[in-house]
Amino acid sequence: MDGDANRSLIAAALARIAAGDQVALQTVYRLTSAKLFAVCLRILGERSAAEDVLQEVYLTVWRKAADFDTDRGSSMTWLIAMTRNRAIDRLRSQGWTRHMEAIDAATDVADPASGADAMLERSQEHRRLQDCIAALAERERAALRGAFFDGNTYEELATRMQVPSGTMKSWIRRAMLKLKTCLEQ
């Protein structure tokens, strides 16, 4: 996807949705549904649950498009955060997750979709974040990945990496601090 061009298309469509334009919602759906569906499916691991959450997301976009605030981030950031939050809320309400296989930090894969072609399409923000994540300790990186992509809680991550949950909390908190510092440089 051509990031910048798409982002301004999406932002313009969000403004029209706020004015009650249903065609604009379809435009946003066309431009974003494959990305947002992949995010839902990654967290929930099941198509029908992911589609239900995606439906909720677009109905929320319809109602709340006026809340989108360009000062707080791009349209994609707003949509991805909303989608992840809805998917995680759903995980918490069902009380179980499909992602409980053991994580071995040393052999953990770098990225769900790495490879030169994939990397070329990524935005500058993504590459910057990726560099900062690469600078973390292996176990910190693995823990953050389990939280971000699998929607795991501290407790679940502690089980998956076989450490006490207090240790997991300190790993993640330390990693988040490092990430913030690195991104601010």
């Binding site: 996807m1 009650g20 249903q22 919602l25 379809q26 759906y29 549904s33 494959a34 990305k35 569906f37 992949a38 499916l41 990654r42 198509r47 992911a50 589609e51 239900d52 995606l54 439906q55 909720e56 677009y58 109905l59 319809w62 109602r63 707080r72 981030g73 791009s74 994609m76 950031t77 991805i80 955060a81 992840r84 995680i88 918490r92 769900p112 979709a113 790495s114 994939a118 990524r122 993504h126 910057r128 974040l129 953050l144 939280a147 971000f148 929607g151 809680t153 501290y154 991550l157 006490p164 207090g166 240790t167 909390k169 300190s170 993640i172 908190r173 330390r174 988040m176 913030k180 991104l183």
Partner: protein, 234 residues
């Protein structure tokens, strides 16, 4: 390495609130902390800004997930669940669906009046709720406490080809209890099970979710909640 169970000041310069915002944005909080944090975001603008800053930092990571199209039917489902478009509202007086709704609303007003007169005279308890979502009114429900029944009339609910609307009773601060399936084209009268009659009180919530044919297989809402409303004494 020492464990940090209470992170106040333990991580250098980062204030507590910013770490909670980071944990929420990452998605690592379990319930009830997650729900409590979501409530705080809704009422605390400064805290919401911290969460938004973390979401901005983390969101680019989602680009690592390869895009995947959802079921092609999904857009139709979403379009059907949308409130009446603004275009249609603009041409209200020439619009057929407006007159349908108007006729329905008039009939409803008459029915409410009849119920009011009937129960006003007999002293029986009646509760009413409108079940709304977004800007759309989906159903209107009337609870007859004496008979332990609930009558639910469709207002602006459009049938979904693959799923059915299911009605839930949620007492204040409690969990949803299934009451039964609704119809898009006619009023349905459901018996309220005897163990639930006590929960059908003023301020209890009625909600409608979309479920697979035959209703929720789990006894809890599994599909999207399209609308809800609070019961009030008529």
């Amino acid at each position: 390495m020492s464990d940090i169970t209470n992170h106040s000041g333990a991580q250098g310069d980062m204030p507590d609130d910013d770490m909670i915002a980071a944990e929420y944005a990452l998605g690592v909080l379990a319930e009830p902390e997650r729900a409590a944090t979501a409530q705080r975001i809704a009422r605390d603008r400064a805290f919401a800004d911290m969460v938004a800053a973390w979401e901005r930092r983390l969101a680019p990571w989602a680009e690592a997930i390869p895009a995947l199209a959802p079921n092609p039917q999904l857009w139709n489902r979403i379009a059907q669940a949308l409130p009446v478009p603004a275009r249609q509202r603009a041409g209200l007086w020439r619009n057929l669906s407006f007159w349908r709704v108007f006729a329905l609303a008039s009939a409803l007003a008459a029915a409410c009046l009849a119920v009011f007169i009937y129960f006003g005279a007999s002293g029986g308890g009646t509760l009413i709720a409108t079940i709304d979502g977004g800007e759309r009114r989906y159903f209107v429900a009337t609870v007859d406490i004496k008979r332990a029944t609930i009558a639910v009339m469709p207002a602006g609910f459009a049938a979904d080809a693959s799923r059915v609307p299911e009605l839930w009773l949620i007492p204040p601060g409690g969990k949803p209890h299934a009451l039964g399936l609704l119809q898009a084209n006619r009023t349905v009268t459901l018996a309220v099970p005897s163990d639930l009659v006590g929960l059908a009180v003023s301020k209890a919530t009625l909600a409608v979710s979309l479920e697979p044919a035959g209703g929720s297989p789990t006894g809890k809402p599994t599909g999207p909640v399209i609308g809800s409303g609070t019961l009030a004494t008529l």
